[in-house]
Subunit: 224 residues, 2 copies
DNA sequence: AGATTGAGTGTACAGTCGTTCACTGAAAAT
DNA sequence: ATTTTCAGTGAACGACTGTACACTCAATCT
């Protein structure tokens, strides 16, 4: 029974002993350790921050010798970029989910916030990474997130343009509104991440109230 | 001429050669190197983040041997807390400045944003530190900032309670409004810090519009 | 069947890190 | 005038960092 179990990373108990598993081609194996490296990095970064990553610990947690890291990533920065892209994909998935929410515009806000909350809960590490590195990060990683976030605000602005009270808003005003919403929701995400398990409901409730307040101002806006 | 000049930290050219300077008591000297340590740490943290701090580099930049650090701080964490307190004092000074702005409630928003902008410009390192560690930080530092920020939102809520349309708002609603404002302004701070020198004006302009939009909703709010 | 590829291994090296310890020497206290 | 205090010194430690290099050996290609 030589089950290798490195630092809480449970190596799937397969490999040869049972005949029914793992025809596993070479590329599949490679992809698997690549994922293991990414997962280890993500977990570690969501705790200590990207700056506090250690190539050696990532490798150890992935069940691989340190030098093997370079078979998958040229440098730590490349891994960072990959992590940003991945987390951003997660975020975008969330937005799409909120967009296709059950039609009724009455409690569209409630539905959106609910979607956000659930998504954060089920992708905590990705959101930790995003929120952390958006502000705390260094160089390339932070800037990439910043750019992607502005891009995302742009998409949101387009979505908003379809709503009744917003049809005649200028592009610039829409973008401002989207930015405002994004920053408010980002703060909500952090609150959700830091919250002790019970208090989830009141956080989402407050998030809803913030959005409602913002949209209350919309009908009275005149672009000066 | 044995002028010691360590890594860009210019040692004031005093000490004995000119008779008119430096009676400098022992405590004064101590306080001076303490400040040098704090300044070095602050500068370094505003670039690489608090997690990326190195005791040795801080000491070097302060013109002192590494071990001397322990004469002033028991640990890195203690230095971190000191930095938080200091930066928070700066922030509070700003708030007070905005509160006592020239009375006219008409362009009170404009005045406040202007105060914010100027304050950020003249205390970049403190604001970098706060924004960075608020989200990116680890453990004690991040939590301390979070708590202080909530406290500050509380103060802001009290201030808001004095305004016309807000006199009958519940404490909870006021706090929500204050939170919303704080998160929006925090995003503005980051924008200001990252902005290339020219684009300062448009950022403050957008910040003003965001605040105006928020306050447009205020008269139509009814606490559900 | 034999040659090739390449993911993962193991060792080794040069740095940096925080921290310890015994010390120096001038300012402060006696 | 003598003793005490203590900010700053300098060497040494053990642990950890990223990275270079030569290696193995099973999956893949010819």
């Amino acid at each position: 029974m030589t089950r290798v179990d490195v630092n809480g990373v449970t190596e799937p108990a397969d490999v040869c002993s049972t005949a029914m598993t793992a025809p596993e081609t070479r590329n599949e194996r490679k992809e698997r350790t690549r994922r293991a490296l990414l997962d280890a990095a993500l977990r570690q970064a969501s705790e200590r921050g990207f700056a506090g990553l250690s190539l050696r610990e990532i490798a150890k947690q992935a069940g691989v010798v340190p030098t093997a890291f370079y078979r998958h990533f040229e440098s730590m920065d490349e891994l960072g970029v990959t992590l940003v892209e991945e987390s951003m994909r997660t975020l975008r998935t969330m937005i799409r989910g909120a967009r296709n929410a059950p039609g009724g515009s009455a409690d569209l806000i409630r539905a959106s916030v609910r979607t956000l909350s659930e998504h954060v809960r089920s992708h905590e590490e990705h959101y930790w990474f995003l929120v952390r590195e958006r502000y705390g990060g260094t160089g390339a990683v932070r800037q990439t997130i910043g750019v992607e976030l502005k891009l995302l605000a742009g998409e949101l602005a387009v979505d908003l343009a379809r709503f009744d009270g917003l049809r005649d808003w200028s592009t610039d005003d829409l973008r401002m509104l989207a930015d405002l919403i994004v920053s408010a929701m980002l703060a909500t995400v952090l609150d959700l991440l830091e919250a002790r398990p019970g208090s989830e409901a009141e956080i989402t409730a407050e998030a809803e109230r913030k959005l409602r307040l913002i949209f209350l101002g919309v009908p009275h806006w005149r672009s000066s």
